[in-house]
């Protein structure tokens, strides 16, 4: 394909810009979505955007810098650790809230 855009924008920059937009989208959703589970998802999108910026700026003409690649792999693992802790906290908070409610509701626990 011979698009005029490709003369101005290298693939590294294109992906890095996508990452920048992802960070913005994720931040906006984090502020405006009021459910913690959705905010956790938004944090993951922000993280993915940052990883994309980091990795794609290491895209040289013939190779991709292994250094940011290693950092991104580390980042992905730390992000999943954060997500697991966040999800556990959200579920625990909901359980506490459900238990605090008047004992009228007979919720069928163990069905999760």
């Amino acid at each position: 394909m011979d698009l005029p855009l490709s003369d101005i924008l290298s693939a590294g920059h294109l992906y890095a810009l996508t990452g920048a937009v992802l960070v913005g989208l994720g931040l906006y959703a984090f502020i405006t979505q009021r459910h913690p589970l959705r905010q956790l998802l938004a944090v993951n999108v922000v993280g993915a955007g940052i990883f994309l910026i980091l990795g794609s700026l290491g895209r040289g003409p013939d190779a991709t810098d292994p250094f940011p690649q290693a950092l991104v792999i580390t980042g992905i693992v730390v992000a999943v650790a954060l997500t697991a802790f966040g999800a556990a906290m959200i579920v625990r908070q909901a359980e506490t809230r459900a238990a605090a409610k008047p004992a009228a509701d007979d919720n069928a626990r163990g069905a999760s």
Binding site: V45, G60, Q69
Partner: protein, 320 residues
């Protein structure tokens, strides 16, 4: 790859991210997030970063997706369907302005940095000394082994943090059974789990071995192991162990402990995390295999969540 492909991929990434973030139904949001993660994996392939693509698809899309789906199912059982209430207009406009401004700033700074792989030229001549060919593994386990050592402890710390959320009286119990409640589905998952678990083990062991020279590595392999364990647990093939089993705890700390021990032993060879001349590959493979086992078990238990009060089975015997 052609520029048109890159452009379409970027648009699809932004589209799936937008739907995942703003669609009303939480399950649809998570489904689009998983699609988004897989497209991100394609992007990493396009950037020639196969190691990252594997990690992104396995961990970013796979494990995170399962985590979110399980959390949503548990919230749903408590009567919370995870839909968002509306936010005031002023907040949305303010956030829009702030985020748009931030994106412009970020884009400007990104465009001011020319993409280049400068460190690749630094790393490449150092690889023969290690005896392995995968440069990313080299960075992870030799040149920046410090990061990876700390990361393995972060993962362990996250599991301790998740376990600390166990309700009163539940400790040291087992996590909630992630098994299917529907009997026919459970049978299907059970049969599949029996087949998948050995395949996952072989594939994971291969990924660690291949990770020295080809794309792969302990984290990607650990995720494959965790996936096999989780599918087997969902079908009831294996039970999740209770958190105080000595064997389980040994499996959890084995990888970080071996890594730390080899790192400390390196002081004799010249400094923390320095490998003696000629032994680098052997030590890296040992670290990777023990780390892979610990990462796999830790990830599976992170997804399973904290222990819950065990009402149905009072007998403390566990299998895993």
């Amino acid at each position: 790859m052609t520029f048109a492909f890159d452009l379409i991929l970027c648009l699809m990434i932004l589209g799936t991210a937008g739907i995942a973030l703003f669609v009303r139904d939480a399950l649809a949001a998570i489904a689009f997030f998983i699609a988004f993660g897989n497209l991100m994996g394609l992007t990493w392939l396009g950037l020639d970063a196969v190691n990252v693509a594997l990690a992104e698809i396995a961990i970013g899309a796979g494990v995170t997706g399962v985590l979110l789906i399980l959390a949503r199912a548990r919230l749903l059982a408590l009567g919370d369907d995870a839909t968002c209430s509306g936010t005031p207009l002023w907040l949305r406009l303010g956030a829009l302005a702030a985020c748009a401004g931030f994106v412009v700033l970020l884009a400007a700074s990104v465009l001011s940095i020319p993409p280049e792989s400068g460190l690749d030229r630094v790393v490449a001549p150092l690889m023969p000394g290690l005896g392995i060919e995968n440069r990313v593994t080299g960075v992870l386990l030799a040149f920046r082994a410090y990061d990876t050592l700390l990361e393995s402890f972060v993962l362990l710390g996250a599991l301790v943090a998740v376990w600390s959320l166990a309700p009163a009286g539940a400790w040291p119990g087992r996590p909630a059974d992630p098994g299917m409640t529907d009997a026919p589905m459970r049978r299907v998952a059970g049969t599949f789990g029996q087949l998948l678990l050995p395949v996952a083990l072989v594939m994971a062991a291969y990924l660690v071995w291949a990770g020295s020279d080809l794309p792969g590595g302990a984290f990607q392999a650990g995720t494959v192991l965790a996936g096999g364990l989780l599918v087997a647990a969902m079908g009831g093939t294996i039970g999740l162990p209770s958190s105080d089993r000595p064997l389980l705890r040994a499996a959890l700390v084995l990888g970080p402990a071996v890594f730390l021990a080899i790192g400390l032993a390196g002081i004799a060879a010249g400094g923390l995390l320095v490998y003696p001349e000629g032994m680098a590959k052997a030590l890296i493979v040992i670290i990777e295999y023990t780390l892979f086992l610990s990462i796999g078990v830790t990830l599976a238990l992170l997804v399973a969540g904290p222990p819950v009060p065990d009402a149905s089975h009072p007998n403390p015997e566990g299998k895993g």
